[in-house]
């Protein structure tokens, strides 16, 4: 499973998005407020999930903000961190 597919599956299962299938999530669509409509509580859960699934530690929410814009942004962020 490629990274973006894995991320979509994680979001659907871990955030309990029951009525959404991973395949339904569009790579470039917003994750927060619009698009998937995630909120501040989902954001901190996502920070934890980055740690749990990818071993990535965020020093602050500000650091994560650009990464949370979309699946594309999240995947790019993870790849950059893992290569560093």
């Amino acid at each position: 499973m490629d990274l973006k597919e894995k991320l979509k599956t994680i979001l659907v299962t871990e955030l309990n998005l029951e009525d959404v299938k991973p395949g339904d999530i569009v790579d470039g669509d917003p994750l927060f407020v619009e698009g998937l409509g995630l909120d501040s509580l989902d954001a901190v859960e996502l920070v934890m999930l980055l740690q749990k699934h990818f071993g990535i530690e965020l020093k602050s929410m500000d650091e994560g903000r650009p990464a949370f814009a979309s699946i594309n942004a999240l995947a790019a962020f993870i790849e950059a961190r893992q290569q560093a």
Binding site: L15, N16, L17, E18, D19, L41, D42, V44, E45, M48, Q51, K52, E57
Partner: protein
């Protein structure tokens, strides 16, 4: 000024809604399932009456339920059913008071929180589970769901949670803080609670009476307004305390809480309908309201020796250490006092 019970809702092993609870009252019980609880010494079978909160889909879109654990779902379902039963679901709830009682709180989500720490270490503590483990989650969820911006109270003290909370609801109404209160209790048969039941003989004070373990939520809408709709019954009294419980004066007395020697011999338990749970007093209240609303149509099992339907019903809760709660309900045809 009288406090009326305008509607009731409940979800438990018997099903959901006033209709299912009325049917269970007429039938005298609900068939229990057997739960195999894993212990180190081998599986222990316990009788259980489990609730199904999926009918919540009728009131809340699935998507909005995604962060609701079963504890919150049962609460929301029973609360919505109570409002629906009262014909008040579509009303403006801005000034509605919300009072929720729970004996043990969200133990399922508390275990999920601990599981997240066990599985991934401290850094993988789940914030969603942490937020969900707070006792006042269901009350907060109700506020958000209904747009209720009045006072909100969650109470937790094992068997006496519901009577204590009901006393607060009654005071809010008597003191004019609000003129309507959504009052109820919720408790879940989580893995942890089922495990404690399986080993109850080893607890210093096994919680609750023996009998099938139950779970669920029971709610009612209390009001001091001049309501258009005929109420189920009147709430005449809601008191709690310790030392000697006041003598129940009604013809029909429902008992909940610990097994106590010396309890009023007329008192009967409805555990067979919904199981042993700290939420029992709220279920008893809902059952009593239904019977009083039925009046002469109530099942024969609840009529007196001369076949008369009850005009008053007392709901008594004992904690086995001198603590008690007493709620007195009267049919609308009855004279109080």
């Amino acid at each position: 000024m009288r406090i009326t019970v305008q509607g009731v809702g409940a979800v438990g092993g018997f099903g959901c809604g006033a209709g299912d609870l009325a049917r269970a009252l007429a039938q005298g019980g609900t068939p229990a399932e057997t739960l195999e609880v894993a212990t180190a010494r081998g599986p222990v079978a316990i009788a259980a009456l489990r609730a199904d909160a999926s009918p919540l889909d009728r009131f809340v879109p699935r998507r909005s339920q995604r962060r609701m654990d079963s504890f919150s779902r049962m609460t929301a379902l029973a609360a919505c059913l109570a409002l629906e039963d009262a014909g008040a679901l579509a009303d403006d709830h801005a000034r509605l008071g919300v009072v929720v009682a729970s004996g043990f709180g969200a133990t399922g989500t508390t275990m999920a929180l601990i599981d997240s720490i066990i599985e991934g270490g401290d850094a993988c503590t789940s914030p969603i589970h942490f937020a969900g483990s707070l006792h006042n989650g269901p009350a907060s969820g109700l506020s958000i769901l209904l747009g209720a911006k009045g006072p909100s109270l969650t109470v937790s003290q094992f068997q006496l949670s519901a009577p204590s909370a009901l006393m607060a609801a009654r005071l809010w109404l008597e003191q004019g803080r609000v003129d309507r209160v959504l009052f109820g209790a919720v408790d879940e048969l989580s893995d942890l609670i089922a495990y404690l039941q399986a080993r109850r003989g080893e607890l210093e004070r096994p919680p609750g009476p023996s009998g099938p373990c139950g779970e669920g939520a029971a709610f009612c809408l209390l009001s001091t307004r001049a309501e258009a709709r005929e109420p189920c019954c009147i709430l005449e009294r809601a008191v709690t305390g310790a030392a000697a419980a006041p003598a129940a004066t009604a013809g029909l007395v429902f008992l909940s809480g610990e097994d106590c020697a010396g309890a009023d011999p007329r008192a009967r338990r409805l555990t067979a309908l919904y199981g042993a749970t700290p939420a029992a007093p709220a279920f008893d209240l809902a059952a009593a309201a239904i019977l009083l609303r039925q009046g002469c149509d109530c099942p024969p099992d609840f009529r007196d020796a001369r076949g008369r339907a009850p005009e008053t019903i007392d709901c008594l809760t004992l904690d086995g250490a001198g603590g008690y709660g007493l709620a007195c309900l009267a049919g609308t045809g009855a004279r109080s006092g």
